[in-house]
């Protein structure tokens, strides 16, 4: 039980960027655009935010972290326009365009970092410090699990999750978004501008993936090095695992976060050290594959996801 208490804060810290990126993927896929470029968008967000913080930190201190988050979010949003243009306007294969996004981000950010800094890494000297939430952390059981040593960014991302749920299920925009992903021709006939909705959705997904990369930077990573270690792909898996629903995604990302944290800390915990590392590391991926098999029968995937919308086609 003590192990669970001690790794919970780490698991949450690991989950949050994953959750943000996965929510990004949710917007894009719900509008009918597959975004396999989440990984690259995260890298871009992390890079822009690292650069911002690196330059502003000496003068602004902790305030630079917030600006960094904002800059990373914007960076991801702007970079995602590349994907939007390719997959919406130019009707490119969305998976290929996403792959290009991943490769461009990985190469270009390190290229720029080396030009600006002389090395491919950018470290920031201080990040957010986890705090116990006053009062709430005193609640038995729940307090130590959810409200101790929490990062402020965790609450930001959870707020975005709540807002996303409202936006997607309770607003006209959300209805249009979902219509574009299910049956764009019908949406078009109902007078919805499918292209516009899809653009907005892809840009939101870029913003959230950028935020995810920035959150990673200011919480547990502290350094940009041109990679987010496959987290973007994991976010994509969480999106499917969570069956394209905000709360499902929350569950799926937390599962991944917890599993990955167990694997990462296993060496330090005698109870876990007995399990071979390979099994712990492979666990989330194997479970995802198995889950995909079970879900494939009753998949809730947006029906038009991955198909370019062609106004002339009926």
């Amino acid at each position: 039980m003590n192990i669970i208490f001690s790794i919970f804060p780490y698991a949450i810290a690991y989950t949050i960027p994953l959750l943000a990126a996965s929510l990004g993927g949710l917007y894009s896929e719900r509008s009918g655009v597959v975004n396999i470029g989440l990984e690259g968008l995260m890298v871009m967000g992390m890079f822009v935010s690292a650069l911002t913080i690196y330059f502003l930190q000496p003068t602004l201190g902790t305030g630079a972290l917030w600006l960094g988050l904002l800059a990373g979010t914007l960076g991801g949003a702007i970079f995602s326009i590349l994907h939007a243009v390719a997959s919406i306007t130019l009707k490119a294969n969305q998976v290929i365009s996403g792959t290009a996004i991943n490769m461009i981000a990985g190469a270009m950010t390190v290229f720029l970092a080396r030009n600006i800094r002389g090395s491919g890494n950018i470290s920031i000297t201080l990040g957010f410090i986890p705090h116990d939430v006053p009062f709430l952390s005193k609640i038995p059981l729940l307090g130590p699990l959810f409200f101790s040593r929490a990062y402020v960014t965790t609450w930001v991302v959870l707020a975005i999750l709540g807002l996303s749920w409202l936006l997607i299920y309770k607003t006209p925009f959300g209805l249009r978004l979902r219509a574009c992903g299910e049956h764009p021709q019908t949406a078009d006939a109902a007078g919805i501008n499918v292209y516009r909705i899809r653009y907005i959705a892809v840009i939101i997904s870029g913003a959230l993936a950028g935020l995810a990369g920035s959150v990673m930077l200011v919480t547990y990573s502290g350094e940009f090095n041109g990679s987010v270690a496959g987290l973007g792909f994991l976010a994509l898996a969480a999106l499917i695992f969570g069956q394209w629903k905000p709360l499902g995604i929350l569950g799926a990302t937390f599962f991944f976060g917890f599993a990955a944290t167990m694997a990462n800390v296993s060496q330090a915990v005698p109870e876990l050290a007995r399990i071979p590392g390979l099994i712990l590391k492979a666990f989330p991926y194997v479970v995802t594959l198995i889950a995909l098999i079970f879900f494939s029968r009753s998949s809730q995937a947006p029906r038009a996801s991955g198909e370019p919308f062609d106004k002339g086609k009926r």
């Binding site: 396999i36 590349l82 243009v85 390719a86 130019l90 009707k91 490119a92 294969n93 998976v95 290929i96 365009s97 792959t99 290009a100 996004i101 991943n102 490769m103 461009i104 990985g106 190469a107 270009m108 390190v110 290229f111 080396r114 030009n115 491919g120 496959g230 792909f233 994509l236 898996a237 499917i240 071979p276 590392g277 390979l278 590391k281 492979a282 991926y285 194997v286 995802t288 594959l289 995909l292 098999i293 494939s296 029968r297």
Partner: protein, 353 residues
């Protein structure tokens, strides 16, 4: 389909990729012309460097064929990196266990067959899941990539550890794919038997795709799954088989890379050649000979970027940036297709008038 149009769009993508590269070089305060001069010089200036360019291209030909073959059947194999790791792991394990027991001329064919089987079985997981349960192959291969990554991460240090914790023991020359006469011919470059494997694979894949019933069926499944099924083609079997063949090619890439090009197997790395294979396949319009040509070009970029970095201080990542930009433009090829059709129409009008 339309060969001259494919070539036109590929050349446009390359051209725009190089322009983007030039802009980035200029941004970093260097003269782009000097940058490209040293990049191409770095890949071609002497026989040893030509050998290295060919050796780099070898891996890319094989991963490019792997991705292209899957594409022709309508599958996107993003898992070439993982299949390459499994093939490479099989080859490394065999090479480090051989100890000269088998002579090279027997050992190398055996390794190639086993690495192919390894890659094929690994890819067949995703193929089977797609065929039987309709699990999307992109997601499945992303998962199998990371599984392969972690398998290598734990197996190499546990059983085949070298001097460092993060690499395997050095592959002895008796079980390496490097050949005495070839290495000498190219003044000690990385070139190895894999070059011939890549050429042979290109020819074999071209024959399979264009001259056999199997290739016909696979392409039919790629064009229209339902029509193919209606025509009596077993779609499930073909999907699994296509992934397996695609994986076999990536497995070959792994063998030639890890016991030919490299001297040992590093852990903790998903080989970038697996992803570059996507670029190679796209640029080569998924045709085997197109793949060969584009792999040579990318091989040149990769092997020249180090020299360029030494001579001009342009970071070597420019090579990857150019390749990535080329994929982006290859993906948006509809622009150039329109341009091509427009130019063709205009040309016809002028001829008539």
């Amino acid at each position: 389909m339309n060969r001259s149009r494919d070539i036109f769009t590929a050349l446009m993508a390359v051209f725009l990729g190089l322009v983007a590269g030039a802009i980035f070089m200029a941004l970093s305060g260097a003269n782009p012309f000097a940058g490209f001069y040293y990049m191409f010089r770095g890949g071609l200036m002497n026989i040893e460097r030509i050998g290295n360019t060919l050796a780099t291209a070898t891996t890319l030909v094989l991963t490019g064929l792997s991705v292209a073959f899957a594409f022709r059947t309508g599958l996107f194999n993003i898992g070439a990196a993982g299949q390459m790791l499994i093939g490479g792991l099989v080859a490394t394990m065999m090479a480090l266990s051989n100890n000269g027991a088998l002579p090279k001329f027997l050992f190398i064919p055996l390794v190639l067959i086993c690495a192919m089987l390894g890659g094929a079985l690994w890819a067949a997981i995703a193929g089977f899941l797609k065929a039987r349960f309709n699990v999307h192959e992109v997601v499945a291969t992303i998962m199998t990539n990371w599984l392969a990554f972690w398998i290598v991460y734990y197996v190499i240090p546990a059983y085949f550890k070298g001097k460092l914790e993060t690499e395997s023991a050095r592959i002895p020359f008796e079980s390496s794919m490097k050949l005495d006469w070839l290495t000498n011919l190219f003044n000690g470059s990385y070139i190895n038997f894999g070059v011939f494997v890549a050429l042979a694979a290109t020819a074999v894949i071209a024959v399979i795709l264009n001259k056999t019933v199997l290739g016909y069926e696979l392409k039919a499944v790629g064009f229209n799954r339902h029509a193919a099924e209606y025509a009596g083609i077993n779609v499930s079997r073909n999907v699994t088989l296509a992934m397996a063949i695609s994986g076999a090619l990536a497995g070959l890439a792994g063998a030639t890379y890890y016991i030919g090009y490299a001297v040992n197997m590093q852990i903790g790395i998903l080989p970038t050649a697996g992803f570059d294979g996507i670029a190679v396949a796209l640029l080569g319009a998924n045709s085997p000979w197109g793949v060969l040509a584009s792999a040579l070009f990318f091989g040149l970029l990769h092997s020249g970027k180090g020299f360029m970095n030494a001579m001009t201080k342009i970071p070597p990542q420019i090579g990857d940036t150019i390749i990535a930009t080329i994929i982006y433009f290859a993906a948006t090829s509809i622009l150039f297709v329109r341009l091509y059709d427009f130019l063709k129409k205009k040309l016809k009008k002028e001829v008539k008038a």
